[in-house]
């Protein structure tokens, strides 16, 4: 290698952090024969399930009393079924020794990292549990709602990604969104939620109602909002219509 090369400050690498999705095989019994058989069954059900799939071997769930075992043999079993061991997750002394002997990286046992994060002072409060799935109760309709059809979203929002024909009726305990022309009837907040709203891409409705307060086509047609993209809400027992 020449002198010039050694002095060159141009970086030859970059360090990047990343979240790698990796399969973890958590061993709960030290029984390599059964493992071999059960892996074979899994692969038979879904051929091609594992193809040189990177793997972390989780040994931290093994009962402490379980006899020591052959890490080399365990890796061989995994490899036979298409799983390539990247690292071992363990804290047991004899396993750490075995992994070191094979020059295999060692990861802390599962749960250990979470605890470490909790202890870190810089860390803000752990992310709260995902909020109650309010969205799970909203109903999404992707095909046109035709005259004579009625759709009700109980306990949530109704989202329509298609035109709503004259003679069709949309009902929701929550909001109604129509990404298309609204030519039929839309009744939001049918159980009395006055904070509910109606959104549509083109207001051509026969009727719009929020918590029982409504306007019919004859009223709507006179407004400059007719045929436009609007947001309809309720305040002081009056329907407010705003252009979007």
């Amino acid at each position: 290698m020449s002198q010039a090369d050694l002095l060159d400050q141009d970086p030859v690498f970059q360090l990047k952090g990343s979240m790698l999705a990796v399969t973890i095989l958590e061993l709960v019994h030290n029984d390599l024969e059964r493992l071999d058989r059960q892996l074979a069954e899994k692969v038979a059900q879904a051929p091609g399930l594992f193809q040189n799939t990177p793997l972390v071997l989780g040994l931290d769930k093994l009962p402490a009393v379980e006899t020591a075992f052959d890490l080399t043999e365990l890796m061989a079993v995994c490899r036979r079924h298409g799983l390539r061991t990247l690292a071992v997750r363990t804290a047991r002394e004899q396993d750490v020794a075995a992994a070191n002997a094979l020059d295999l990286p060692i990861l802390p046992p599962s749960g250990a990292r979470e605890r470490a994060i909790e202890l870190a002072p810089a860390q803000s409060k752990p992310a709260a549990k995902p909020p109650e799935p309010a969205r799970a109760t909203s109903k999404i309709i992707r095909t046109p709602v035709r005259g004579g059809q009625q759709i009700y979203a109980a306990g949530g929002d109704l989202i329509v990604l298609a035109p709503v024909s004259a003679g069709a009726e949309l009902l929701a305990d929550g909001n109604i969104h129509v990404y298309g022309p609204l030519r039929g009837r839309a009744l939001a907040g049918v159980k009395g939620d006055s904070a509910a709203a109606v959104f549509c891409q083109s207001l051509n409705a026969e009727l719009v109602s929020i918590a029982g307060v409504y306007k019919v086509a004859e009223d709507l047609r006179r407004l400059p909002h007719w045929g436009k993209s609007v947001h309809v809400s309720l305040s002081d027992e009056m329907l407010n219509i705003h252009l979007l």
Binding site: T143, V145, R146, G148, P163, G167, A168
Partner: protein
């Protein structure tokens, strides 16, 4: 695999039977083994339009009731080789059609035909329901007027929710819009909806536009499907529609007011 095609509309008198006869004939002329089935029990007229009314011995209901075999009831068209007709009964009431009966007959027809064209009666009652229930594809016949568009819209709702495909959660019935009795002059005067208006309201693929034409009445009086009148505007428009149904990309014609021919301008022309 045989395809079941329903010609439907909701509204009566829009041109369903005219269309069933024309499209069925067009498919057969292109080499597909085709049968046109009249579901309008009590008001049969497909056989009249096809010019085979005198050859009807057994009908659809006879086959359902086991009074005749399908072979006995099928009428082979005299002009077109691959074409057959299954007539409706003139005497029975609509309840003569049952879901199981219709399914049995359609299953048997599937064995021997490429296309089964079901001519639906008007309305959204039993006969119309059974005509569309088993369909793979639907031609929704619509006239350019508000009430017809409304009825077609309702029918599209039924196809999307009450057909067998919808009930079984299979791929939905393929929908085609056929605008018939289209009169560009009246569209310009604002007396009729335009193609764009109707397409926008129904939001389905446009299979064709059939102009209002003297040729239709003339053909039906003679018992000849209008598609066989290949110099007429309506005949050509139906021909294009059949090509599009088979996946060909054909430009739409007869959408604009026709320029008057030289002779018409000299002798018959207004203005």
């Amino acid at each position: 695999m045989a395809k079941i095609l329903v010609v439907t509309s909701g509204k009566g008198g829009v041109g369903k039977t005219t269309t069933s006869a024309a499209i069925g004939t067009g498919l057969a002329m292109r080499g597909y083994k085709t049968v046109i089935v009249d579901f309008d029990v009590g008001l049969r007229n497909l056989d009249l339009i096809m010019g085979c009314e005198r050859r009807v011995v057994y009908d659809f209901v006879n086959v359902i009731n086991g009074e005749a075999s399908l072979n006995q009831a099928l009428i082979k068209d005299k002009r077109i080789e691959n074409l057959s007709i299954l007539a409706a009964s003139q005497t029975r009431d609509k309840d003569a059609l049952t879901t199981e009966g219709v399914e049995k007959v359609l299953d048997e027809l599937r064995q021997n035909f490429d296309y089964i064209v079901c001519d639906s009666p008007a309305g959204i009652e039993k006969g119309a329901y059974l005509a569309m229930y088993f369909a793979d594809e639907a031609i929704v016949v619509t006239n350019p007027e508000v009430s017809s568009v409304r009825d077609s819209d309702r029918m599209l709702g039924l196809l999307a929710s009450k057909s067998r495909r919808a009930e079984k959660g299979e791929e939905s019935v393929k929908e085609h819009l056929l605008l018939t009795r289209y009169n560009p002059e009246r569209v310009i005067k604002g007396e009729m909806l335009s193609v764009t208006d109707v397409e926008e309201i129904l939001a389905i693929r446009l299979l064709g536009v059939i102009p209002e034409s003297q040729a239709v009445l003339k053909a039906s009086n003679q018992g000849i499907p209008v598609i066989l009148d290949d110099i007429s505007d309506a005949g050509q428009a139906y021909s294009d529609a059949v090509d599009r149904l088979l996946g060909k990309d054909v430009a739409h014609r007869f959408l604009e007011v026709q320029k008057k021919g030289l002779l018409q301008r000299f002798f018959g022309g207004r203005e």
